[in-house]
Symmetry: C2
Subunit: 445 residues, 2 copies
């Protein structure tokens, strides 16, 4: 029996656990699910006899060492900032490691050591990063093998509520960690646009959007995502003119969110003393100039330059930012107060399903002709456990674990799935689960 | 002979050094001026036989210990983040310490230990903080002693170029550390306005100004300064309705600077790779959306919503933001690139003099009548060595050092000059140097 150690049994681990247990008998696997909550781990394992639930604290060095030393492979679903704990032990005990997180500097520096030892740490193998890398690299490699030159790469991913359940003025519900949504973009964004490097500071990010169409699902709005420039080298696209990665929302979301940023409500850098004594109306008013004879609504409209009857104002009203309801949080940052409100308003309801939308657009030239390739993927959740997010994050990880254990993937060092030896087998099996892209190809000349 | 150790001989130490040397003979002092540059220290001492110049690196523990252990009092003009090195040694060797910096948490935590030992660390005794605290507390104490209730306190300070030398469209030149000006306000601001707490995020700060008049010097623009709320407790004004501290500039400065913030040019959070290959025009364009048929000037005007012939545009043009001149800095942050440009444009010329403007406004009630007290100070520089900034930062420190050494000030613990035992003797002597406030008192009923 090979032992797979999975650390973290949260929402995004559901489908990952299901795959590993479903395939455990055939592959002779034992799955140890270690989580702060042993009960949660047990619940996720259900009646399978191939799973073991263990109560686990990542800072418990003795237990961590014991569990890692006894496994054959480790999957870390911990917050990205905690992976280093697991990575250090994995090097010590010579165990391969799989995560869905961006490669940290700490892990990047382990590359040579891992190569010397013949060991693999595979990162960024979830949805975004993950499926985006693999599906993009498949097309990039195909174009290059035909002799084409890629001029434009634009890639967008969004975790949204499925359109049948999309019934609020923001056309958005939380299908993922709410905190990450509230503080998203605070480092600004940078990308390459027709040969020019573009920098966008946080407070301008949500007005710098563009509209794209995805299959029959209509229009989506793209918000620039962090540092796209680094992918020029990672994807090997040195001669590219446009390199852009973005986040999809439905049109109108960004202009509304821009107003929350302008107000200062997403600020996470300080705590409001006495925040428990404020109403949401007081909270909003605290960011407005004093004005004795103007309502908070009037002040916000004047300050941000929109009408009291505008769609933007309707979005802000719907959130409850002008309500006299108590904030009821002590010593909270503006971002924390806003998050609490959004968690009520943007909660997925019991029967709601989520949806993942991913699209790559390429412009390339081949034999003197310019062509556009649009490659789109839509995945809907099955239910509230196997959400589109859980499926698309968990399956690539689970499949990669299988291929590492059975030797199909035998790379070494610190890797992300941009190499054919990794993405080819993983994408092939993802197709069997319906995770596939629809490619459209157009002539531009 | 009593030994005074002064660490740091920069621009702001000139008047401080002059005072200490001028008074050395009478008081039997010896002044040790320790600076990275022994030459600079020697130059500042000039021909005085009471000064000794020493080459000094603050991280040289052995030398630091030796110098501090042999002195009777230490003045630290190091950057605020380095005071802890000196403070730790001063506790160890039982030496009083004087700085012009805001009290750090590190120093604040030494309070009880200092009180037990009977030792004084006096901080915030320069201009701002310093003269502002002392002059405000003098009026606050006077009003309270008469039985008045203070309702409003608004205080502003600005370091500007004197009006005779004010000849650029920003009505501003650097009279102080340029970097502090470029990154000013990045933590946002908070204050109390007619009973309501107000928070302003950085990207809104420079549009949240108000205009005030100072004596015959005309209008000044006030930009909110950091955290004014903490001074409610420090000044003992628990029942106050408005508590506001701001920075003075000439009207129009803030609206221009707001545009630099909106563009993202003051961002210090990332480095621009290949910044040495950009012109200032490229630099500005990097923050604009791509637009093939629009000039950078047109894009900036559209993006920020002002006309191509507007005063704001004139300010940006004058700075050279659209020039094809090379940036000529490697791997620099936007803020660093902007600072370099501003240092050329906003440099004080050889004959230029600077000016300090400080004003407090109080509204208080006394015997059933509401009154307004406006207390204003204007100080002009004498020359390029004894600038208004050097005079107003250095004299309060120097005078405090004298009174600590001769026992007139005998407080203990971590102090700032809000207590009468400190501000009274210091303000009295400052008056002899022409550093005095003009008080105007008005009835509001």
């Amino acid at each position: 029996m090979k032992k797979i150690l999975l650390i973290g049994a949260g929402l995004s681990s559901s489908t990952l656990i299901k795959y590993l247990l479903d395939n455990a008998e055939q592959n002779q696997w034992e799955l140890i699910v270690a989580d702060q909550s042993e009960e949660l781990a047990r619940k996720k394992i259900g009646s399978s006899k191939f799973g073991i639930a263990i109560a686990f604290n990542a800072y418990d060095t003795a237990l961590r060492n014991e569990l890692i030393s006894k496994s054959d492979i480790v999957i870390s679903m911990l917050p990205a900032s905690m992976h280093y704990l697991v990575a250090d032990d994995c090097i010590k005990y010579f165990k391969p490691l799989v995560t869905a997180s961006y490669v940290s500097d700490h892990i990047k520096n382990m590359d040579q050591d891992l190569k010397n030892k013949g060991l693999l740490f595979l990162n960024e193998i979830g949805l975004d990063p993950g499926i985006d890398h693999m599906s993009a690299m498949k097309i990039i490699d195909e174009i290059r093998e035909k002799g084409g030159n890629i001029e434009v790469f634009e890639s967008n991913t969004g975790g949204l509520v499925a359109p049948e359940f999309d019934n609020n003025p923001w056309n958005y519900k939380f299908t993922w960690n709410p905190r990450n949504v509230v503080v998203a973009g605070q480092a600004g964004a940078r990308f390459l646009d027709r040969g020019q490097i573009k920098y966008i500071p946080y407070h301008q990010l949500f007005r710098r959007t563009e509209i794209l169409n995805v299959l029959e699902y209509g229009e989506f709005e793209s918000i620039p995502n962090r540092d796209s420039l680094q992918y020029i080298e990672i994807y090997g696209l040195d001669a590219i003119k446009t390199m852009y990665r973005g986040t999809f929302r439905k049109p109108g979301f960004a202009s509304g969110w821009h107003m929350l940023v302008q107000l200062g409500l997403t600020d996470d850098s300080f705590k409001i003393k006495g925040s428990d004594k404020l109403s949401y109306r007081d909270f909003t008013n605290a960011f407005m100039p004093y004005g004795q004879d103007r309502t908070v609504e009037e002040k916000v409209c004047d300050y941000l330059g929109f009408g009291i009857g505008s769609e933007t104002m309707q979005k802000l009203r719907w959130l409850g930012l002008f309500d006299k309801k108590p904030v009821a949080m002590k010593n909270a940052s503006p971002a924390q107060i806003l998050q609490k409100l959004l968690e009520e308003k943007w909660a997925l309801q019991d029967d709601d399903l989520d949806m993942i939308v991913m699209q790559h657009q390429f412009i390339y030239s081949l034999n003197g002709k310019r062509k556009k390739n649009i490659s789109s993927m839509i995945i809907k959740g099955q239910n509230q456990v196997h959400t589109a997010m859980s499926i698309t994050v968990g399956l690539p990880m689970a499949i990669a674990v299988k291929f590492i254990l059975n030797g199909v993937i035998n790379d070494t060092g610190v890797k992300i799935p941009v190499e054919k030896s990794i993405y080819q087998p993983v994408l092939a099996e993802l197709e069997q689960f319906g995770i596939r892209f629809i490619e459209e190809e157009f002539d531009l000349d």
